[in-house]
């Protein structure tokens, strides 16, 4: 299997779009080496603004640029964009519908060695609660590229969530990316696994193992968390016996709760959530941490069997 970084997909898309979108600019807060925006800066120095370690100022500067017709991509780590600069994200960008793309990396537990201070497992919960936000969580390098381009082409605030590690390339995600539309990766009639971001590979693995046992498992990938694809969720609620969600994020306020809320209001069925169980992460290798915090195919399978 091939492994690639989602953050590289983001920056490759920026570079590919640069000629076509002359008003697009990129901002960073002294983590350009890690978000990879320095690769863009090298090619387009006059369109790159290193704001220093000033996440709050950076997000509002980006909003100001958008008011003058720029298409700013502001990058830092997820935890700093949503927690350090949460007010600026809410009051400076979401509320006035500023055309700013907050593209963050180092989300989820697979940040690894830096530990809990840098592992953003709350950012989906925070940004989901802000009206006007569009939230994109691509699953691999190629989908990150597609999502970045879709973000640039829509008018309005976008939160684009990316990781640090190399993640499996999933060919089922490639081709097109429509904001608000999920991807049906595999049909099935027993249980639906709904996934987002880089957990898609574990969802596919769980399906393979369950198929060997004779179960028919549907896999739906949510590249957009907001506006979420209610149609696909309700179809799953009606056509399968229950839903298991998996996300590289807290089960508080993330994909699982979004799905559970829609199902509970419209067509109740069992929903079980796999993710960080309301706990801070810790240092370790990305793969070790996915084991330790229970975000693997085997954890999905356990939850599926609890329903069946």
């Amino acid at each position: 299997m091939e492994y690639k970084q989602t953050r590289q997909g983001y920056v490759d898309a920026l570079i590919e779009m640069a000629e076509e979108l002359p008003e697009m600019v990129v901002l960073d807060a002294d983590v350009g080496k890690a978000t990879l925006t320095l690769q863009f800066a090298k090619l387009f120095p006059e369109r790159f603004f290193n704001c220093g370690i000033q996440e709050q100022n950076m997000l509002c500067v980006a909003a100001g640029m958008s008011l003058e017709g720029k298409i700013p991509f502001a990058s830092t780590f997820g935890v700093f964009a949503t927690c350090r600069a949460g007010d600026q994200l809410r009051n400076g960008i979401a509320y006035p519908k500023a055309n700013v793309k907050v593209a963050v990396t180092h989300c989820g537990i697979t940040v690894g060695g830096d530990g809990a201070s840098h592992q953003s497992n709350e950012d989906i919960a925070i940004t989901r609660s802000f009206p006007n936000m569009t939230i994109l969580v691509p699953g691999d390098y190629e989908e990150a590229k597609l999502a970045t381009k879709a973000a640039a082409r829509m008018n309005g605030p976008v939160y684009l969530r990316l990781g640090r590690d190399k993640y499996p390339v999933i060919s089922e995600l490639h081709g097109s990316f429509i904001i608000g539309k999920s991807k049906l990766l595999y049909p099935g009639t027993d249980i639906t696994i709904i996934t987002t971001g880089i957990m898609v590979s574990e969802a596919i693995k769980a399906r393979e193992l369950l198929s060997e046992e004779g179960f028919s498992i549907r896999v739906v990938h949510m590249g957009t968390i907001k506006p979420i694809d209610e149609v696909a969720i309700l179809k799953a609620a009606k056509e399968t016996k229950g839903i298991v969600t998996i996300e590289e994020h807290s089960i508080v306020g993330g994909l699982g709760e979004a799905v559970a809320g829609i199902v509970a209001e419209n067509h109740p069925c069992p929903v079980r959530r796999v993710g960080m169980r309301d706990i801070f992460g810790e240092s370790g290798q990305a793969q070790e941490l996915l084991d330790k915090f229970g975000m693997r195919a085997k954890n999905i399978i356990e939850e599926v069997k609890k329903i069946l």
Binding site: G52, Q54, N57, C60, A63, G64, S66, N91
Partner: protein, 282 residues
């Protein structure tokens, strides 16, 4: 029609601006009284600054608020919407009757400035610090495009206790934003009392100078001084901070220098008394 910014201030201009200030102050009292909510003190204190900008110094186009050559103004101390809305209405950005809908459901006149809804409002503010950073992004974009218009912003003195302001101070210096003219409304008061008790700011001018800004200090109620300082500030090759010494609650004897009038709503008697004082002088 484009309103052209002017350099000279004739005696007739000065008289007009003083009369406008009187009118705006009465509108402030009426708006807050009618809404039973809003911030009078800081609005009365910024009146000369904002009236002189919109009615004398700035080039702008009320019928075409998006005209790209306009000078921009951001009220970073966003709670002072009464003065901003009165000035915008008087300029013709929206009907003066709208002022009576201030802070009412369905109105475009939100408690704090909301750019998508209100013609003439350039940035959404209210959370202190946000307007200041926002105008930096606007000014930097215009500077890089070689555009010639100016960017004006007013911060409260309490507001500049925010760390975000000093992030912005560094940023403006880095990019040498010579198209930016900022004011700090130095009334020494904030919500809970005197700024020097709550979180001391003095000596203020050297702080901004050490951050690379060109600093002026003026009487923020002296229209002549506001005009001459802004004209001189336009020659700066650095961002400019004008420390405008003001009296919070200016023009109403019992509101002047009284922090309690930061966000208080006047009774009918207080409102009548205030309007009378504004008409006849204290």
């Amino acid at each position: 029609m484009v309103i052209e910014g002017k350099k000279e201030l004739s005696p007739a201009n000065l008289e007009d601006l003083k009369n406008l200030c009187k009118q705006v102050r009465k509108q402030i009292i009426n708006m807050v009284y009618q809404a039973s909510s809003g911030h009078i003190g800081g609005s009365l204190g910024s009146t000369e600054l904002i009236v002189t900008l919109y009615n004398h110094l700035m080039t702008h186009h009320p019928e075409n608020p998006d005209w790209d050559k306009r000078d921009r103004f951001v009220l970073s101390k966003g709670h002072c919407t009464p003065v901003l809305y009165a000035v915008l209405a008087n300029c013709g950005y929206f009907p003066k009757e709208d002022l009576s809908t201030f802070r009412r459901p369905g109105s475009h006149l939100q408690g704090h400035p909301y750019q998508p809804k209100t013609p003439g409002v350039e940035a959404t503010t209210g959370s202190l610090g946000i307007g200041f950073s926002t105008i930096l992004g606007m000014a930097l974009t215009a500077k890089n495009r070689g555009q010639k218009h100016y960017y004006y912003v007013i911060c409260g003195d309490g507001e500049i206790q925010e760390g975000q302001i000093w992030e912005g101070a560094m940023f403006a210096n880095k990019y040498k934003l010579d198209n930016l003219i900022a004011f700090v409304d130095r009334n020494y008061l904030q919500t809970d009392g005197n700024s020097e008790d709550i979180m001391p700011l003095d000596p203020l001018a050297p702080k901004w100078e050490s951050f690379g800004w060109k600093v002026y200090e003026i009487n923020g109620h002296d229209i002549q001084e506001i005009v001459s300082t802004v004209i001189s500030a336009k020659n700066s090759d650095r961002p400019v901070m004008i420390i405008a010494n003001t009296i919070k609650g200016k023009g109403v004897s019992f509101m002047e220098n009284a922090f309690g009038w930061h966000g208080a709503v006047p009774s009918k008697e207080d409102a009548d008394k205030a309007l009378k004082e504004l008409e006849n002088g204290i």
